[in-house]
């Protein structure tokens, strides 16, 4: 999604009304219920949220000059900066050490990388297809990417072939390096 993303892709930036800011917050909490205790710290009541509209109907939401989450359609997706701030709130999968290199260059994650001994998938029932997951790595504390499941975690375990996760955002991609001055 952010393989190519430059300043030219930005169409407009504007401040978000406080009322819309409130709905945004509730939406975020609805999607990731565990965010509730810290939501006021993430988006202070008096803080100003900025919306940056980009190519392909992508919208980035920034607070204090830091992109914290974005959306393309209805779903809000946290950025890695936000994930690092509070990592426990999202569905998580783990890849093995061998996969890190490829993930950091933006490759989709293949099933074997999710099922090998160093990797971790949630126990049954796991996550549905199309849900957004954050991707951690073996022996590493922080997340390194965010992706969308191309098959449910149970399917990944049983089929164990082909693409498992479609990458949305990873460390070092243009969105990661993106800064608003």
């Amino acid at each position: 999604m952010f393989k190519k993303f430059t300043r030219e892709d930005i169409h407009s930036r504007s401040n978000v009304k406080s009322s819309i800011q409130r709905t945004l917050k509730t939406k975020l909490v609805n999607q990731y219920p565990k965010l509730e205790p810290v939501i006021d710290e993430l988006i202070p009541k008096k803080g100003q949220v900025e919306v940056i509209k980009c190519e392909d109907k992508i919208q980035l939401y920034a607070i204090n000059g830091e992109v914290l989450f974005f959306q393309q359609f209805d779903e809000l997706i946290p950025s890695l900066k936000l994930v690092h701030k509070f990592p426990d709130a999202y569905p998580t999968v783990q890849v093995d050490r061998g996969a890190i290199k490829f993930v950091l260059s933006g490759a989709n994650i293949m099933c074997p990388g999710l099922t090998s001994p160093g990797a971790q998938l949630p126990d049954a029932p796991g996550f549905e297809k199309d849900s957004v997951v954050i991707i951690k790595a073996e022996n590493k504390e922080n997340a390194l990417a965010i992706g969308r499941l191309l098959m449910s975690t149970e399917d990944i375990k049983s089929i164990n072939k082909g693409h498992g996760v479609e990458l949305i955002h990873h460390l070092g991609d243009p969105l990661w390096n993106f800064s608003i001055e």
Binding site: P37, V38, E41, G98, I100, S116, G118, G172
Partner: protein, 202 residues
């Protein structure tokens, strides 16, 4: 429940534990040692300081931690090393390119007493031209814009006779970026008339 304050590497911008995958590991290590010695100890403590004999133990420990087996681990390490050298070479090339390029500041006459100053050759140094143009505009209180010159390169055009000031500013800017050796060439197409010198001739 509170927020984590994640440290990001000043060199490659990743969290320090991912530095080994960035291809800039050497510089990352130096940065981390300077800025967060405790984290450095935690991440690289085993391998640094330890001499030959214990490096085997460190390697064994590393293998124990990783699950992908010795063969794949070795391969990964080799790949990473290759990536690192590649990255280093690229950086050297870029640096050489930067040092060999030059900045041209040109003063042109518009009408009798009006001048414009055009600056080109800045884009190599990762300077945001638009932003710099804006800075100039407010600094000199003149019109300033980014346009393309005859060679299809971007240049900054400033309305007004501000050659000396611009030169000083560019020098300062390059110094800030650690590029003091870069050549800055000034071209003055029309010598400025000095009214103070002519009366004495009589």
């Amino acid at each position: 429940m509170s927020l984590n304050n994640t440290v990001y590497c000043g060199i490659c911008s990743y969290p320090p534990e991912y530095c080994e995958f960035s291809g800039k590991l050497k510089r990352c290590k130096v940065w981390l040692q300077e800025n967060h010695p405790d984290m450095f100890e935690q991440l690289y403590g085993g391998e640094e300081g330890a001499e030959e004999d214990s490096s085997v133990a460190a390697a064994a420990k590393k293998l124990g931690e990783s699950s992908i087996g010795e063969e794949r681990e070795n391969k990964l390490e080799k790949d990473l090393l290759r990536m690192q050298t590649k990255q280093e070479n690229r950086e050297q090339r870029e640096l050489a390119k930067k040092l060999s390029s030059k900045v041209v500041i040109k003063r042109e006459a518009r009408t009798k007493r009006k001048f414009i100053v055009a600056i080109s050759g800045l884009e190599v140094f990762e300077i945001d031209m638009k932003k710099l143009a804006k800075t100039f505009a407010s600094k000199f209180a003149t019109g300033c814009s980014v346009s393309k010159n005859a060679e299809k390169n971007q240049e900054i055009v400033i309305q007004g006779d501000v050659l000396e000031d611009v030169e000083a500013y560019i020098h300062a800017l390059l110094k800030e970026k650690g590029m003091e050796d870069v050549k800055v060439e000034t071209i003055d197409t029309k010598k400025k008339k000095k009214p103070t010198t002519t009366p004495e001739a009589k």
